[in-house]
Amino acid sequence: MTARESSTSASAPAGHGRVHVVTPAALLGTVAALFALTVVTVVVSRVDLGAMNVVAALGIATVKAIAVAAIFMHLRYEGRFHVVVLVGCAVFAALLVGFVVFDTTRYQPDLRAREAAETRHR
């Protein structure tokens, strides 16, 4: 059993030279960590940290996401280019969020002023 779980699986045909089979320990360990982090994020959210609540929640979610990507999605074992795809796309998504939030928050007073003017009018 242990031989089959090494990074090159003996049972795989020759073409599968780079196949990695994740061990039960790694799978179970990961899911245990994910469960624990879920509990932590719930507990932390019950404490009022002000703006830090969002930061903490997103931070924990990111750690969980990295765990899933690294172990369940095999990123730890293979394909540096897959990491580039995942991280690259996440970065572009973040840039979209970042730029749009940056801009909308800056022009928001103009929306509020108009809303106030309309309320006055009625």
Binding site: D110, L111, A113, R114, E115, A117
Partner: protein, 327 residues
């Protein structure tokens, strides 16, 4: 301002008849200067590209006696870095110049004179300008050399206030205000256009801006026009033109977005729901205050409600009546 070095280039562009509109604001000179800079840089590079292309084609065309290319390097990093960094330096210059000018164009002037603040409302397909003394007009009136702030709003869709002579443009967005800051520097009358597509008569959504030579002239304009003693029909005619009703409702029977007002008084019209109604005072009033209530068949339900004063309402009714009844 770094005006002198570009002045001759700018003058050359400006000298081309019909190339550029007059310069009528504080912003215009700065914009045109940067335009001139980019124009000549571009003209140089375009000429260079075309000249090299033509030259190489003529000299190196494959022809009897010259069937094979001459060996040359397949890359030259120094040369390639040269044509990386020269354009880079040029766009940096453009960016730096333009950003300075842009901030001047989009922020209030640090001037002691109190700004003239005008509220602009865009609606399909007309402009309305509320001047500081409470005077509303379908024309924008400004004073030469007096700093101006326009606060733009829209009641329906996005419009864009554009005066080519001012070199300025700003969208009017429903649900919010947008602002323009500038100082007119040339007295005269210029067209106000809509530059953001807004439907059927987008191209006819035009008005005028009148830049008065001095404050006194502006004040004189602002005082006049309160039509005491005018007949109801005259009041109606004024309101009808000023509020831009004619953009959709023609006076001569032409079919536009809405029904023409010519000869409809007393007429039975078919409605979208299949019923009919007689055009009388009640119906005209309702159609102004609640346009969507009873829409004439064959026309879209797009008219925005207009909260008119009682006298103006009476005026419109009288005006439409004066446009002739059905024989």
């Amino acid at each position: 301002m770094t005006r002198p070095p570009l002045e001759p280039l700018q003058a050359l562009i400006a000298a081309t008849p019909g190339f550029m509109p007059a310069r009528a604001t504080s912003a215009a000179a700065g914009v045109d200067q940067i335009f001139a800079f980019i124009f000549w840089v571009s003209a140089f590079f375009l000429a260079l590209i075309v000249a090299i292309t033509v030259l190489f084609v003529v000299r190196y065309r494959r022809r009897p006696g010259r069937m094979e290319p001459e060996p040359t390097a397949d890359h030259d990093t120094r040369l390639e870095l040269l044509w990386t960094f020269i354009p880079l330096a040029l766009v940096f210059a453009m960016f730096a110049m333009s950003t300075r000018a842009y901030f001047r164009m989009t922020s209030p002037e640090a001037s002691t004179a109190s700004p003239l603040k005008v509220s602009v409302t865009g609606k399909r397909w007309s402009w309305w300008f509320d001047h500081p003394n409470g005077k509303g007009a379908p024309e924008l009136h400004l004073v030469k050399d007096r700093p101006t702030e326009l606060v733009l709003a829209s009641t329906d869709v996005i419009h864009s206030l554009y005066v080519p002579e001012f070199r300025l443009k700003q969208d009017a967005v429903p649900g919010r205000f947008t602002r323009m800051f500038f100082t007119p520097t040339l007295a005269g009358t210029f067209p106000v256009l809509c530059a953001e597509y807004c439907g059927t008569d987008h191209s006819r959504m035009a008005a005028q801006v009148v830049v008065h030579a001095d404050q006194a002239s502006f004040d004189a304009w602002a005082r006049q026009g309160v039509d005491a003693g005018a007949s109801l029909v005259e009041v109606g005619r004024r309101v009808f033109t000023q509020r831009g009703c004619a953009a959709c409702h023609s006076l001569d029977g032409t079919r536009r977005v809405g029904p023409s007002v010519k000869g409809i008084w007393g007429h039975e019209v078919n409605l979208v729901d299949g019923s009919t109604v007689k055009v009388d005072e009640d119906y005209v009033r309702e159609s102004i205050l609640k346009p969507g209530a009873r829409v004439v068949a064959g026309f879209p339900n797009v008219m925005p409600p207009a909260a008119l004063e009682e006298r103006d309402l009476q005026g419109i009714v009288a005006y439409i009546q004066s446009m002739g009844e059905t024989p």
